[in-house]
Amino acid sequence: MAVETQLPYDKQYVTEYSEKRNEPSWFKDIRLQALEQSEDLPMPKLEKTRVRNWNFTNFKHDVAGEQIQSIDELPEKIRVLLGEDVENLIIVRNNDVAYAKLSEDLSNQGVIFEDLFTAMNEHSDLVKKYFMQQGVSVDENKLTARHAALLNSGIFLYLPKNVVVQEPIQVVFWQEDPEAALYNHVLLVADQHSEVTYVENYVSDNDEEETVANIVSEIFALDGAKVSYGAVDNFAKGTTTYVNRRGTVERDATLEWALGQMNDGNTISENITNLMGDNSLSHAKAVSVGRGNQKQDFTANIRHYGKASEGYILQHGVMKDSAASIFNGIGKVEHGATKANAEQESRVLMLSDGARGDANPILLIDEDDVTAGHAASVGRVDPIQLFYLMSRGISQKEAERLVIHGFLDPVVREIPIETVQKQLREVIEGKVY
């Protein structure tokens, strides 16, 4: 099978799409420039994963999603993802927002939580300032450029200064149409000393049909802000995913990532956190399960610019069948980031002989006065642990289940909404057994 490498979408299509979305002209210009750049830019540079035969071009770009009045109209499989009594919720269905709710209280405090296409008109100053300017650049690679050119979904979340939101804010991206592509952008700006917990779910059902997910999240935690970001990616086998989550953390600010990377298709996942400010802090925690013959490339990268900045990477992956995954953990300390602490741990648990897993710990340090450490391992379920559990009468299967559950739990338990956590456990259960 010949794999197309050029997009079947041209300048005219992108122009018309932008007009249909009523976008401001500055945004249309970003798209058109990105489209042009996308032709010559290289694919993301991956050390060990070959993406030449992956599908990046076969998909339906513009698929409407039916509005709903109440979450009761959602099918069970989507409803179970919702937090109990979630006050602040957006449901994206294919490429449209089908449902949106923001509590009056938050809205009165100036919190903005809406469709990116609405935001680029109503809050153009903010979107213009942050959209693919300081976080991810349009021209990083072919896929970031395509992302900007073909953006068909997006969320904008803004927390004004000093606004502390207790209850989590949730978005569910439901790709109901099995061929619908998702070019989705999440732009989250937490202004100084604000606090927020955001959780997103990606879901699709396309085991047979092919499509593409191209996701960029840009998170800005300004001075003193605290952002907790949870995600469960659960695209079905037919979706090729490129997901690029980027954090910018300013002085005294915190960004906590908890990512459940449960896609069944080929996936490139890049999670980069720039610790710009002094005393900035980030935990980048991620779990994944590989099965079938899917190939995945995970990068967790924390770059230290601020003094006394602290970055902790923790990646745990379980590989079964003939799945192959690369886990890159990168801690980079820039010159001048004195007293920085860069720690990382990447562990891969292999459940079959045919599976492959590589953990690549990398520390790049351009400063003397720092602390850093890394741990990496690839191995089997520990037979001594199994012996211990089985010696109490627990079957081998159940013992393995407990060990795997425990292996993934340090990340799963960090997922902010309890129902999402529970659902992630079920997804893991479904994938591992």
Binding site: I384, F387, Y388, L389, M390, S391, I394, G406, D409
Partner: protein, 261 residues
């Protein structure tokens, strides 16, 4: 008939090709407490692990039978379900699984489906047993052995013993790493188990534990065999005089076996 019987006959065990047990014979009946003593490196822990089916040990000869059933043919979980229990010298740490969930799964694994222990009954029993063993209540919700001190791990083994109520238990150096107060607490727990329905094989390096748990039979291991058996008075003589007199009596120079020699 009261209780179960564990019969060990001419047991030979290898680890990585090296013979550690060279023909062990022991019979433990319900209602009996046996102590296996001996200096370090004489095969005591190997005996404990081999009975339970530790993956590193290979049985090359001999038999282990529980009420006539061939234990060596059973998987590890089947041995537990048949009524065996091993309190380990170095219990594994399992992250993400709470002590209480683990214990409940273990109890239910030995019961029929549909006959699981009611949650309230379980909690009550666990609370009471933890009180007996002077275990901090928050240990129920901590991950299994994760970050436990040596003493906490040992108490946790005995907590499991008391909750699971096996027919025959093997306690592998349950006293090591315990201070005298903890030792008394653990010994009290084990003494509480005493009944015609319960047999116990206590493996210990020190006489100390036997000050608090009186064994009915005492066996001394050297060179991978039981070289001497007797009653409680044997333990007392060992405490007073050490092991040298046995070595002299039997003409043994080096009592150890395998790599530790």
């Amino acid at each position: 008939m009261a209780g179960s019987t564990l019969e060990i006959k001419d047991l030979h065990v290898e680890i990585e090709g090296e013979e550690i047990l060279k023909g062990v014979n022991l019979t433990i009946n319900g209602g009996e407490f046996h102590a296996v003593m001996g200096p370090n490196g004489t095969g005591k822990s190997t005996l404990a692990s081999a009975i339970m089916g530790h993956p590193k040990y290979e049985i090359t000869k001999g038999e282990v039978k529980l009420d006539g059933e061939d234990v060596l043919e059973m998987e590890v979980d089947e041995r537990a379900q048949a009524g065996l229990f091993l309190a380990m010298q170095y219990p594994s740490e399992i992250s993400g699984v709470t002590n209480s969930d683990f214990l409940r799964s273990s109890i239910n694994a030995r019961r029929e489906e549909g006959d699981e222990i009611p949650l309230m009954k379980f909690i009550k029993e666990m609370d009471a047993t933890m009180d007996d063993l002077e275990i901090d209540k928050n240990m129920a919700q901590r991950y299994l052995n994760e970050g436990f001190s040596g003493g906490e791990k040992k108490r946790n083994e005995i907590l499991q013993l008391m909750m699971l109520k096996p027919a025959i238990a093997v306690l592998d150096e349950i006293d090591s790493g315990l201070d005298i107060d903890a030792l008394k607490v653990v010994a009290n727990g084990i003494n509480k188990m005493r009944s015609d329905e319960f047999g116990c094989l206590i493996i210990t390096h020190y006489q100390r534990l036997l000050d608090y748990i009186t064994p009915d039979h005492v066996h001394v291991m050297m060179q991978g065999r039981v070289v001497k058996s007797g009653g409680p008075e044997l333990a007392q003589r060992l405490e007073a005089e050490g092991y040298d007199w046995i070595k002299d009596e039997l003409g043994i120079d080096d009592e150890t076996v395998g790599q530790k020699a």
